[in-house]
Amino acid sequence: MTMLGWIPFLEPMNWLQSLWYVLLVPLAFGIAASYKAMRVVDMRNYWRQVGLMTGQIVVVITALAVGLILFVKLLLPLA
C-alpha cells in the first residue's frame, strides 16, 4: 500500500533498504553498457559484450563478498 503514494525520482526507495545488494546488477549493467560502447570494436557484438561484462562484475564482486564473509565468520574467530 505504501507504494501507491510513492513519487518516483523525488522520493527515495527507502523500502529497498534490506535488498540494497540486488542493486549491484543494474550498477554492473550501466558500467558495462557505457564502457563497452567505447571499447567494443564491432558494434554488432555490443549487447553480447555488455552481458558478458555485467556477468563478470556480478560474479567477481559476489565471490569477493562470500570470501570476506567466510574470512570474518570462520577465520577471524580462530585467531
Binding site: 523525488l10 527515495p12 543494474p26 550498477l27 549493467f29 550501466g30 571499447r39 558494434m43
Partner: protein, 145 residues
C-alpha cells in the same frame, strides 16, 4: 623498428558536447551508434541513481567530493542539485524527512551517479583524443574485444 602510432587531432568541441550530453561528442564526430549507446549507458546510471535515492543523492554542498565525480555527468547533475537545494532543503521538516534517502539507499544512489560521472569522464577523454573510427567497425587494436 616499432611502428609509430598515429596521434589523432584533438577535438575540444566534441569533448564539450560529450560533457553537455553524454554520447553527444561521439555523435558529433560521426560515431552515431557508439554515441547513442554511450548516452544510454551513462543516462541509465544517472536515472537509476535518482530513481533509487531521489534528488537527495546529488548534493553539491554536503557531498562536495562525490559531486566532483557526479558533475562529470554534465548539466543534468547541476539541475538535480538545483532541485535538491530548492525543493528538498527548503521544505518543511516533515517533507524533508519523506524525501531524504537513508543509509544504503543514499549510498547506492550516490554511487550510481558518481560512477556514471567517472565513466563519462573517460568518454569525454575519448571524444577529445580517441581514435578516428567508424561507428560499426572502428580501427582499434586487433586484440580489443
Amino acid at each position: 623498428m616499432p611502428k609509430q602510432l598515429e596521434q589523432p587531432a584533438l577535438r575540444p568541441g566534441a569533448a564539450v558536447l560529450a560533457w553537455i550530453l553524454p554520447g553527444l561528442g561521439h555523435i558529433a564526430i560521426g560515431q552515431h551508434r557508439r554515441g547513442l549507446m554511450m548516452m544510454f549507458g551513462i543516462l541509465f546510471l544517472f536515472v537509476f541513481g535518482v530513481l533509487i535515492g531521489g534528488v537527495d543523492v546529488v548534493d553539491m554542498k554536503r557531498d562536495r567530493l562525490w559531486f566532483l565525480a557526479q558533475g562529470c555527468n554534465g548539466p543534468i547533475a547541476f539541475l538535480v542539485d538545483y532541485l535538491n537545494q530548492t525543493l528538498l532543503k527548503t521544505a518543511a521538516p516533515a517533507t524533508q524527512a519523506r524525501l531524504t534517502s537513508l543509509g544504503n539507499i543514499n549510498a547506492t544512489g550516490t554511487l550510481f551517479i558518481a560512477l556514471g560521472g567517472l565513466m563519462n569522464f573517460i568518454l569525454i577523454l575519448d571524444a577529445l583524443g580517441g581514435p578516428d573510427r567508424g561507428s560499426d567497425h572502428p580501427g582499434r587494436r586487433s586484440t580489443d574485444p
